[in-house]
Symmetry: C2
C-alpha cells in the first residue's frame, strides 16, 4: 500500500482555457446564483428557505423551518464550494457573503456544539432519534468539510471552530462507550469529513470517531433498533421500505464485496474507507475498498462514468444491468466515483484510477451543468426520446431538459466544489515521486525548490509539455498515459526518449531545471465496444475521443436516432456545430440511416439504408440547444 498525498490547491495554478472557463462559471455565475437561491431571491425558482432557517435558529427572526430535513446541507456545500473556489481565485465579494453566512451559522449553533436548524427551530428534544433518515450527521459532515476547505483557502478559523465544537459533540455522543449512542448515519458523509478534520487539526480523536462509524456500520441492525425506541420520530421518506443494502448497512464493511444501494451513499462510504485504510495502514479495509471499487468499475459503471442504474432507491442494480434510457446516473454519484477513485489512486498509483476519474469527470459530471451555468442535470441518461420519457412512468426521474434548480439540490453545489478542485485530482506526491494524473495547463509547486510548468490543450489534444523550474534531488516524475492512447512520442529537450512505464505512468528520473518534456499522445476518435453481457448495449458501439464520450443529438441528425448505424470502417472527421463551443470538439462520422416504409411495426423486409454523415457532440455538451432526442450507443454494422 502506498500513501500518496494530494497537492494543496494553493500550490497549484490553473491557466487552462478549458478549466478556467468552468472555474469562472462557478465563481461568477453558479456560486452567486446559488447564494441568491439560498436567500430566496430568485422569483421563479422553488423556495429554499435555507438562510432563513439559520436566521430563525439564531433567534434573529421568527418563523417555522422550511424545506427538507437536510436543507442545512445546501449552505454547507455552498460554503465548501466557495472555499474551493477561493483557493484558486480571490473574490472579496464572495468571501464577504461567505463570512456573513458563517457568522450566522455560528449564531445558530447551540452551546453544546449541535448544529441542525431542522431540530434547533422546532424539535429540540428529538436530536439523534432517527439516524437513518434525519440527516443530522450528513449535514454535520458537510459543514465539517466546509470548515476545513474554507480555512484551508482563507486561513479564517471561524467556521473551523464551529465544526470543531460540532465534531467534539459528535465524538462524545456516538460510540461504544457507556451512555453513548452506538449508531451510525443513514447517509454516509460524516466519516470522510471527520478524517479531514483530524488531518487538518492533528487531533486523532476525529480519526478514531470516523473509524468507529465505518466499522460499526452494519454490525447490527441499528436502524431497526432505533425505530423501537419510544422517542423515535416518524420517517420522513420511503426509505423504510428499502432493504438495508440501500444504506450499505446490511453487513459490516469488511464483509461487503458488492457495490449496492444508493449510489451516492455508497461512494461516500467507500471513499472514507479507502482514505482511512491508506492513512492508517488497514489492509483488511483496503482489500474491502478494492473489492468494492472493482465491482463498481468492472460490473456497474456506464461508459459515461455514470453509476446508479435504477431510480428506485437511486441505486445500483445487478451486474451488467445498465439501461440507457432509465439510467439514474446521478451527477453526485459520479463525483463520488471520482473521489473514491482518487483515494484508491493515492493508495496504489495506477493509471486505471485516472481513467475512471476522467471517464466520470469529462462526461457525466460536466454533463451535469449547462453551458449557461444556470441549469443542471441530476439524472444523466444515455438515451433520451422526449415522447418516450414523458409517456412511461419508469422514466419519471428523467428530465428532457436541465432544470434551473430542484427540491433536492445536491448536485449543483457538488459540481461547484469539484470543478475548482481539479488540481487535487491532477497531482499527487509520495516522497520524491510526483504524479501527474490529469493534464491541466498551469503550474504546480512540487517543493520549496522545484515547480513544474504544464502546457496542454487537453482535452482537445493529448499533448502535454512539462518544464521544470528549479531542482529537487531524487525527483521522479510520473506522467499518466490514458488507456485510450495507442501511440505516443516523448521528447526531452527535443530528443526522443523511450521512458519506462510503470502501471500506466511514464517514469522520468534525472530531470533538471529547465528541462522540457513533450509527451504527445495521439487522440484519434475510436469506437468503444461493450461487454456483450450489457443487454442494453447489445449490438451497439459508442464513440470516444480522448476522455470525451460522444453522443448523437436530434438537433444535428433529425429524429429517430435509433435508426442510425455506423460500421467499424466508418471514418471520422472533425467538424464544427453551431451552438457548440470549440472547447467541445465535434465529430462527423460516416453512417447510415434506416428509412422505414409503411405503417407496420414489423415487417419481413428491413427499411432501406441511406448514407448519412452523423454528427456527434461530446456527451457533456448535450441538451444545450433545446429539447430533443439523444443517443450514446449507436447501432453497429459488422
Amino acid at each position: 500500500m502506498a500513501k500518496l498525498r494530494s497537492i494543496a490547491q494553493k500550490d497549484c495554478k490553473v491557466r487552462s482555457p478549458f478549466w478556467d472557463h468552468y472555474i469562472q462559471l462557478i465563481g461568477k455565475k453558479v456560486l452567486p446564483y446559488q447564494w441568491k437561491l439560498l436567500n430566496d431571491e430568485i422569483p421563479d425558482a422553488e423556495p429554499s428557505g435555507c438562510i432563513r432557517n439559520f436566521r430563525i435558529a439564531a433567534g434573529l427572526e421568527e418563523g417555522d423551518f422550511y424545506g427538507a430535513v437536510f436543507q442545512d446541507s445546501d449552505l454547507a456545500k455552498w460554503l465548501d464550494a466557495v472555499g474551493h473556489y477561493l483557493a484558486m481565485h480571490d473574490d472579496a465579494k464572495l468571501e464577504a457573503l461567505a463570512d456573513s453566512a458563517i457568522e450566522l451559522v455560528e449564531k445558530a449553533q447551540e452551546d453544546d456544539g449541535y448544529l441542525d436548524t431542522y431540530f434547533i427551530i422546532a424539535r429540540k428534544d428529538q436530536r439523534w432519534k432517527n439516524l437513518r433518515d434525519c440527516h443530522e450527521l450528513y449535514c454535520a459532515g458537510h459543514f465539517i468539510e466546509a470548515g476545513v476547505s474554507y480555512y484551508t483557502a482563507t486561513g479564517k478559523r471561524r467556521l473551523l471552530d464551529v465544526v470543531i465544537r460540532l465534531a467534539n459533540l459528535i465524538c462524545s455522543v456516538f460510540g461504544k462507550g457507556e451512555g453513548q449512542i452506538p449508531g451510525y448515519p443513514g447517509h454516509e458523509e460524516i466519516e470522510y469529513a471527520l478524517l479531514r478534520l483530524g488531518e487538518v487539526t492533528g487531533n486523532r480523536k476525529y480519526i478514531d470517531e470516523a473509524r468507529y462509524f465505518i466499522m460499526e456500520r452494519g454490525v447490527s441492525d441499528y436502524f431497526g433498533k432505533e425505530a423501537q425506541d419510544p422517542g423515535y420520530i416518524e420517517r420522513f421518506s420511503e426509505i423504510g421500505r428499502l432493504p438495508r443494502t440501500y444504506s450499505q448497512s446490511h453487513e459490516p464493511v469488511l464483509e461487503q464485496d458488492e457495490a449496492v444501494g444508493h449510489a451516492v451513499r455508497a461512494m461516500y462510504l467507500y471513499t472514507a474507507m479507502a482514505h482511512y485504510a491508506r492513512e492508517e495502514n488497514d489492509s483488511a479495509l483496503m482489500e474491502a475498498s478494492n473489492r468494492l471499487w472493482n465491482d463498481t468499475v468492472y460490473r456497474k459503471m456506464y461508459v459515461t462514468g455514470g453509476i446508479g442504474s435504477t431510480a428506485v432507491g437511486e441505486s445500483f442494480s445487478s451486474a451488467y444491468d445498465l439501461p440507457n434510457d432509465s439510467a439514474y446516473c446521478e451527477t453526485c454519484a459520479s463525483i463520488g466515483l471520482m473521489r473514491f477513485s482518487e483515494e484508491m489512486f493515492l493508495s496504489s498509483p495506477h493509471s486505471m484510477y485516472g481513467d475512471v476519474i476522467e471517464r466520470a469527470l469529462y462526461n457525466t459530471v460536466l454533463a451535469g451543468i449547462a453551458f449557461d451555468g444556470e441549469h443542471f442535470f441530476y439524472v444523466n441518461p444515455l438515451e433520451s426520446v422526449p415522447e418516450k420519457v414523458k409517456g412511461n412512468p419508469i422514466f419519471s426521474h428523467v428530465r428532457t431538459q436541465r432544470p434551473r434548480w430542484f427540491g433536492v439540490a445536491c448536485c449543483p453545489p457538488n459540481i461547484a466544489r469539484t470543478l475548482p478542485d481539479i488540481t487535487t485530482y491532477a497531482y499527487a506526491k509520495d516522497g520524491k515521486s510526483f504524479y501527474v494524473q490529469l493534464y491541466v495547463a498551469g503550474s504546480v509547486r512540487v517543493s520549496d525548490t522545484l515547480s513544474l510548468q504544464l502546457d496542454t490543450d487537453y482535452p482537445a489534444t493529448g499533448n502535454i509539455k512539462i518544464r521544470l523550474e528549479g531542482n529537487e534531488p531524487g525527483f521522479v516524475l510520473h506522467v499518466r498515459i490514458p488507456s485510450w492512447c495507442e501511440t505516443r512520442s516523448v521528447t526531452l529537450n527535443g530528443k526522443t526518449l523511450e521512458p519506462g512505464m510503470e502501471r500506466g505512468y511514464l517514469v522520468f528520473s534525472d530531470l533538471h531545471d529547465g528541462d522540457v518534456l513533450n509527451i504527445n499522445s495521439e487522440m484519434d476518435p475510436f469506437f468503444v465496444y461493450p461487454n456483450p453481457g450489457i443487454t442494453s448495449d447489445a449490438g451497439m458501439v459508442a464513440v470516444q475521443k480522448g476522455p470525451f464520450v460522444y453522443c448523437a443529438e436530434e438537433a444535428d441528425n433529425g429524429r429517430t436516432l435509433s435508426s442510425l448505424s455506423v460500421s467499424p470502417s466508418s471514418r471520422f472527421s472533425s467538424t464544427h456545430i453551431d451552438g457548440i463551443p470549440e472547447m467541445y470538439p465535434c465529430l462527423s462520422v460516416e453512417g447510415e440511416k434506416e428509412v422505414w416504409k409503411g405503417p407496420d411495426l414489423y415487417s419481413r423486409e428491413p427499411g432501406k439504408e441511406e448514407n448519412l454523415e452523423l454528427k456527434l457532440v461530446p456527451y457533456c455538451a448535450w441538451n444545450n440547444r433545446g429539447e430533443g432526442e439523444m443517443r450514446v450507443w449507436l447501432r453497429r454494422n459488422r
Copy 2:
C-alpha cells in the same frame, strides 16, 4: 360496414391435436384446479376465499369477506370458462360443480338483483359509492357473460335468470334519468356483457344501457364527482393517483384517438364500442373504434402480440415505446386484443385482423399457460435475465418462472375461457359468405344443408384441406391467407386454381358437395425487422415461422443471449429440443456468439465472434424447463 356473425360453438367440432391438447388441459386440469383454488382446497396456494364469500353472503356460513374487492369475478370467470368448455365437451362432473356454484350464487343474490359479496356481507349501504374502484359493475359484467355462455352451452337458465335480475337492477340504477346515477365503471366490462345479454334475450334495454355506459364515459369527471359525495368510501387502490386516461375516461369515446391507460380496461371498452357500432350501425363509433385499433396495432403492439408496455398502471405508454425487459404484456390484455380484433373483423372482414388475432393467440396468450396447465404468466416479457430481473425494482412485476396462482388471478380463467372458444375466432358468416379466419382442424356447420370438414395441422404447416358436405346455393367461401405467407398453391379437386383475393381472403364461389379444396401456404421461417423507431429493438431481428414468433433460451444456448447474433443470410433448419413437445416446432439457425475477454466493461476491441448454431423455440413454449435467460430480439449482422 359489414355485419358478420360468429358461428356458435355448438355448430363446430374441433379435431385438432394442437387445440384438443389445450382444450383437454383446460377441461381436465385447469378448470378442476381452479375450482379447488376457489374453494381453498390447495394447501400451498394463496387463499382465495371466493366460494366461502358466497356461502357467507347466502347466509350458509358466518364470517368475514376475504380477498380483493373484485374477488367475486374469479367465480364468474370460472363459470364463463366452464360454459365455453361444455359447449365443446360434455363433462358431467364439471357441470355438476358449476350447477352447485350457480345455486350458491342465486342464494347470495339480493332480492332486488344486487350481486357482490364484498358489499352484501359487510357493506350493505355502500353500494355504487365508488364506481371507479369497487368493481361492482365489473363483477356484474363477468357474471352476465357467464350466464350467457352457460345457458348457450347447456340450455340451463338458472344463472341467466340471476344475471337478468342483476342487469335489470343496473338498468334501473344507472342512467341519465331522474333519480338515476349518471356514472360508469372504473373497469370496463359491463358494456360488452350487456350487449351479449341483449342479444341472447332479445331485450333491447340491455343494449341501450350498454350504449349509455359507453357514451357517458368521460363526458364529465364522474370519478372526481363521486369522491365528493359524503357517502364516498375510501379508495382501495393506488388508482387515485393515476390520470383519467388510466380508465379511458378522460374524454368521450367518440373523441378518443389513442390507446391509453390500463390495457385490459382499454381492450374491454374498445371491444364493446366496436360490437355496438357494428350491430347498431353507428358509424361515428365505428370510426373511433378503428382509430383506436390502428393506434394499438401500428404504434403500441409487441411482435408477440403483447400490449401494455409499462407496469405503472399496467398501461400503454407512448408510441414505439416497447421495452422488452420491462414490458407488461398482460396475458389478459392480449386476450382483449383478440376480442377487439374479432369485433373489427366482424365489422369489416380483412385478413389483417386475423393476423393480429394469431399474433396475440399463438404467442402471448399461449405463453400465459405452462405445459403442465398449472402455472401461469400474468406478465409476458420479451427478454429475461434472471439476475437483472431480481436486481432492479423496475422489473418487480416480472416473474422469472410462471407462478402457480396469484393474488389478482384474472389471467388463468381468461385463458380457460378463450382456448375452448377457438372456433368463435375461426369462423364467421355474412349471409351466404362464409369466412375461415383461422385454420383449425375439425368441422363446422354452415347451414342446415351444408357443413365443412377442415383438415389441417396448423400451426405446424400452413396447409388446409376443406371438403364440402352438402350444398348451399350462393355459398361463397373466404379463406384467410396469413400475411407471412409468400407462396401458396390452391387446388380444387386436384386441379390448380387461381382464385381471386379480397382483402387478404381467397374467395371461392361455385362450390359443391364433395368438393375438396387444398390450400397450401409455404411456411418457411423468416426474419422479422422492427420499425427503427422502436428504440428497444434497434439493430435487432426476430424470427417467425407461421404464426409462431421464436425466442432463444438459456437452456439451449447458454447464458448471455445478448452476445448472440444472426445475419439475413443465416439458414434455418428444423430441430428437436428435449423437453419441448413436437407441437412446438423448434428451429436451428446459423449464428454467432461474441466472446468477451477480460474484465473491462468497455474496450476498443469487440469480442471475438464464434460460429454457433442457435436453437430457437416458439415464444409460447418458453420457461417450461426451469429458470433461465430468454430473448426474442436477436442482434442482427448486416
